[in-house]
Assembly symmetry: none
Homo-oligomer: 206 residues x 2
DNA sequence: GTCTAATGAGTTGTAATTAC
DNA sequence: GTAATTACAACTCATTAGAC
């Protein structure tokens, strides 16, 4: 008989709008009021811990939104993208990197879970949150991130035919379990990597 | 992790009722600084006596009024709202947080009771003391407190009696939904598949 | 007795860390 | 990079205790 169960810290927004309340003023959708400067060092009220692991970052709604959006587009960004996001969201680079790692892990887990559910309980299909249903994303990665990776090199970037065939070889050494997850960023050819250096061809319209 | 005390099973059901809240007329004349003399002793604020229970806070009428007003608007305020209230009411943050927790608990309980009454004694409907019947609010929260949320506080009076921290805040956590526990990760901001970062259009200037 | 602020165990999601 | 793990942080519920 519980009408509510907001257990864990979570935040994500729908396209929700103030419906019943917002009497006096409203500026929906745009969190530009305060200058949100998420402190990444030591922020929480009080002092929960000192000297331990670095304090848990609390992402803002907007940051998560952006991160999630980028993640859904490119689960494996490269360093330029990390840097861009770092600057954009005013977060340290490590935080961004870690977020993507965790996001991939989460997506993988959700995918597995959904997959298992689908396989096991095919008939039992209740409308669960669809947030984890777009897990068709491909999360295998190939080891292009090596220091002398060809992708990042400016001399090779825009020829997608090259990387598609050359390193598009689907033989990741660490391809463990899921073969449903397929090609890594190779199929990101729809988003060519030439734009990665130049801040990803898409400009923020703001 | 500490099985010291047995705990009842943990199961939830959900039932929800429409929410009745008074938007702006919650506390039209909020206490600016008239003369609230809350005995927020240093007992539980500055110095936590280990082992000793904090002294029970005695809220003033105004404080309770304000808290109740804010609660009816947003049962799950964000951290900034807590801070605002803390400053506004001259109460420690912890006290505010605990008050909201207890208020939620109370509301849930009342809601359950009402629900049981309605369900069990459908025909028997006498006007019992509805001193707390106004708690038929929706306590589902969809995203929890967050540093900068694009919301405005509905508890913030329209008047200028107090704008000590005009942090825009407005959460529409009041989603009326019947008997469905929203899972925390329920709704994500799904973005279309092939657009990299132009999605939300919330990219700050760079 | 009632009412409720405070406490604490328990759950959950996840940022950060570690091991690989 | 991954997978597993740890350490929070924000909540829940039940309970305890303090003032009426």
């Amino acid at each position: 008989q519980l009408p509510l169960r907001p257990h864990p810290p979570f935040l994500f927004l729908s396209q929700n709008q103030p419906l019943t309340l917002s009497p006096c003023s409203l500026s929906p959708g745009l969190p530009a009021n305060t200058s949100p400067q998420p402190q990444t060092t030591d922020l929480h009220r009080g002092e929960p811990h000192r000297g331990r692991r670095s304090s848990r970052t609390r992402f803002t709604e907007q940051q998560l939104e952006t991160l999630q959006g980028v993640f859904e587009a490119t689960p494996y960004p490269r360093e330029e993208e990390y840097d861009r996001l770092s600057a954009l969201l005013s977060l340290p680079n490590r935080v961004i990197v870690v977020w993507f790692q965790n996001a991939r892990q989460r997506a993988r887990k959700n995918q597995d879970r959904n997959d298992d559910d689908n396989t096991d309980n095919s008939g039992e299909d209740e409308g669960q949150g669809d947030s984890q249903n777009e897990n068709s994303m491909d999360l295998t990665y190939e080891y292009y991130t090596h220091p002398d990776s060809p992708v990042l090199d400016s001399s090779t970037p825009c020829t997608d035919s090259d990387h598609l065939t050359a390193k598009g070889e689907q033989t990741p050494p660490t391809r463990k379990q899921e073969d449903k997850i397929i090609s890594p960023q190779a199929n990101t050819s729809v988003v060519p990597e030439c734009q990665s250096e130049g801040e990803e061809g898409q400009e923020p319209e703001l």
